[in-house]
Symmetry: C2
Subunit: 182 residues, 2 copies
Amino acid sequence: MTTRQEQILDTAATLFAERGFHGVTVHDIGEACGISGPALYKHFSGKADLLRQSLVSISDRLLDEGTRRRDAADDASSALDALIDWHVDFALSHPALIVVQEREWSSLDAEARERVRRTQLAYIDVWVQVVRELRPELDRATARAAVQAAFGLLNSTPHSARLSAPAMRSLLARMARSALLG
Amino acid sequence: MTTRQEQILDTAATLFAERGFHGVTVHDIGEACGISGPALYKHFSGKADLLRQSLVSISDRLLDEGTRRRDAADDASSALDALIDWHVDFALSHPALIVVQEREWSSLDAEARERVRRTQLAYIDVWVQVVRELRPELDRATARAAVQAAFGLLNSTPHSARLSAPAMRSLLARMARSALLG
DNA sequence: CACTGAGGTTAATGACTGTTAACCTCGCGG
DNA sequence: CCGCGAGGTTAACAGTCATTAACCTCAGTG
């Protein structure tokens, strides 16, 4: 069962992804949930709170599960596969969340932005360690840029998406692997 | 010499890229240009006009120069190189423009949105033809998804960018080629 | 049964924003 | 020297938005 709070957070994330944080009104969010504007304040402290909770939970989830899968892998090569699979799965099943965490962090207040940025950097670092084990000739900065480019590739799903999910999954995974390993 | 109009368009695009169309006020744009809010209306018909002109000019420029370079190439392989070089050059020298054309088309009115969308699709198609010549086993839809994934990779520049421009250029170009050619 | 707190409602409020109006200034062609 | 248009200015306006206030309903409990 999904609670009203979860429903509101999901709905808000979807709308933020479509039209941007400032392009969505609390009335829009309420309406999409079947309640009306000010009712949101029974569950959240304000519109900014919706974005904050979305972004914190998304970035935590990416980092936690990413770390878990890397640690469970036997070697660097299968760790990379596991990371790619995880990220592409997440992007395909939650396109709105991927879009929001990619774009809307600049609408956060300073404190939350710092918190989210740190988590995102830690997630990038999980990837960077694996990539540098496979390609020791890359320095830290280059590896980081390469990983962020791979994210751009994997996160392109929401903007194209005319393929079946399995086809998209395998296309993106293959492309990401080629891009990162040369 | 850059005219006042060009200065305003550039400034607006940069702010739109940073905070999104709805997150920027006409006062912000004017202030960043050294004039004040309503003065913009001496040069443009309104805030929406700024976004429209930015997006139309960006998408036209990508398509025109992309077509030119592909047509000037001897074979498919060098055509792909030329397209990659062009796109990565553009993304590196105009990060704000790339971000705006990627994100803010949804803030356009229906007519302009349709116009820009068509141009973007034509640009994608230029790439798709080249890619399918090099990888005839790909169907149209798969090739299109692959090209959009490559755009995501190349357009990641504005979000990472801790490398020198030449290093970034060659990193992204190599990654895009590997991703597209497997 | 009384009552209370959770979760709604609509109306009001104050801040902000895009746009327009009214006015100023000054370089320049006749 | 005069007029005027280009490109500024500030003030005013109407609309929208986030947030708060005041009020309603009702399931569940002492």
